[in-house]
């Protein structure tokens, strides 16, 4: 366990500061586009050799300090009983949308070994191929974020259907959250058994909720997952990262999840988070993904400022505040990684 990334997750200040990028394996890399070729996104996720290959690309190309499994947070929803497809430009489609009691009832649990064997196989291949280089991060969506896709039937702007269920049928919503939580627990546990050395829980949409609603409808389920991963017998204890996009108003709550690392987006300065939560918290983040369009000079200033703020925390892992965009020139991402290393050495 002496990978710098894992040491930082455990609360150790590491120099240089470890760095990886959300969606670091992705369309901005020509090498990724070449592997994907004519395959659709889901085929790539479900073909272990290819998924492993694109997972490794940014390690070679950018020099990041961790690999993250190439997959999608929506993968476990298919074996739960939902139709899943991706239409170019329109985002994911989940059908039929989960709206009433009957819809929730028909959703099943999953057995990761038989339902998502390709994910576990990808992890096993990666552990062999990465050994001695960088650690491997597994991941899942958080229950609320997955619930939004299931209830809306895909992406949304207002999340009206999700909030309507939460407000008008709170018991049904809780039942749905409990089902997703059960799936997420076994899914992440299976990833850890297969070899994931850390896991990140992505709560991309929890930031749409006010604090009161988050505490009532979301936090208990995230806590249940984190506690499960920390207590489950026979699995190695690995660091858990919890990332809420747009969660500046939910800092205390993120902390109460008891995850080891709190991910921040670019709207919450690390210095503010340190001020709010104290110096005993490990933060991950938080360059605006679009800041990779800045000139080299101004990019350097931004990175320096984030690193400086990170020095106030217990430990810091550098990352973007959200996934890297397809339009970013790979050289700029590479420059970012080397600037982080250089400026924090």
């Amino acid at each position: 366990m002496d990978y710098p990334f894992l040491r930082a997750c455990r609360g150790e200040r590491v120099s240089p500061v470890p760095v990886w990028l959300m969606r670091q394996a992705g369309r901005y890399l020509p090498e990724y586009r070449e592997v994907r070729g004519k395959d659709d996104f889901l085929t790539l996720c479900k073909t272990p050799e290819l998924a492993a290959e694109v997972t490794i690309q940014p390690i070679d190309i950018l020099g990041v300090d961790a690999a993250i499994l190439f997959s999608d947070i929506l993968i476990p929803l298919e074996p739960m009983g939902m139709g899943l497809s991706f239409s170019e430009g329109k985002g994911p489609i989940l059908e039929p949308a989960v709206r009433d009691e009957k819809d929730v009832e028909t959703l099943g649990g999953i057995d990761p070994d038989s339902d998502v064997p390709f994910v576990l196989e990808t992890i096993r291949i990666l552990r062999q191929e990465l050994e001695g280089r960088v650690p491997l991060i597994g991941f899942s969506g958080a229950p609320f974020t997955l619930a939004t896709y299931m209830v809306e039937g895909g992406s949304s702007k207002s999340f009206m259907h999700t909030k309507r269920m939460m407000y008008a049928a709170p018991r049904l919503f809780r039942e749905l959250m409990a089902k997703i939580t059960g799936v997420t627990k076994s899914y992440l546990e299976a990833q850890i058994r297969a070899g994931a050395q850390a896991v990140q829980i992505f709560d991309t949409w929890a930031g749409i909720l006010g604090r009161e609603d988050y505490r009532e409808h979301v936090l208990p389920f995230v806590q249940e997952i984190v506690a499960h991963l920390k207590q489950a017998p026979d699995i190695p204890e690995v660091p858990v990262i919890y990332f809420i996009l747009n969660g500046g108003h939910l800092l205390w709550e993120a902390r109460e999840s008891r995850a080891d690392v709190i991910g921040l987006d670019w709207r919450t300065p690390i210095a503010d988070a340190v001020k709010a939560l104290g110096k005993d918290v490990v933060f991950q983040g938080n360059l605006d993904p679009c800041a990779l369009f800045l000139s080299e000079e101004r990019l350097k200033e931004r990175i320096s400022s984030i690193l400086e703020q990170g020095r106030g925390a217990k430990a810091h892992i550098f990352n973007l505040g959200h996934g890297i965009l397809p339009e970013i020139p790979p050289d700029k991402a590479k420059l970012m990684v080397s600037l982080v290393h250089e400026l924090s050495a």
Copy 2:
């Protein structure tokens, strides 16, 4: 000037607390749908008699304490030289998208009297019809929010094109912001001359920016508009409300705009805003629009809590934290208004 809403804008504690709803004239009202009939949205905006009629509907139906001009923030972009259309379900389309120097250069200023006479005529009709009942709020989009629509060519999720211009071509972006600011100044000034008794500046998308970017690229332009409205000769001095959606991390900045009232969405508890900015600020907000799906009992609890927090501020105007949704039953909106009045009497 003894309308409760205007007194609260000026910092006076008013009982009962005045209340209105963003998008209170809109699709959730059957009466609105009837007036609109087969006309498209833009035709309705551009026909003063009809726009005035739907503006007044919620005053009669809900009993709110202010009317807000029925219009759209994108209206002034058409006379600036952009094609504007609304496709049902897909949102607005602005074309051609503003991407380079040439695009910015071709954008013109506007003369409200000749370019948007229908807006001013709607205001004049409304002032006659509303006199003695409730005051009339005019409005505009804030420059950054308008810039996102112009640069993206419509709505967006990542706002990549806008941020790319801001980061990669900051001078060009500033030029664009300056042009929009000039238009917004004369547009709001014309509304006030025509009779608007308060104005709200909607910064729906500024919340996507970190504080540093907001301060550099957005705040100076908002300040310029507010200062202009306060100093312009020969127009009555009216209260200015500045609303940033998702702006919990920009509270200090919102205050620095020098607007009279700061609008909050449901993610920023008024109590937190009071704690951050002190007791000398007037706040407007901030019930989650989806909370209108709650049971009456729980809705009442939410409203009580918001009113209680509002009592800590210099003054409070009750509102939703964003526009009312088309799916809300009008009776629930009506219930909300009467609960606000009843609980704060």
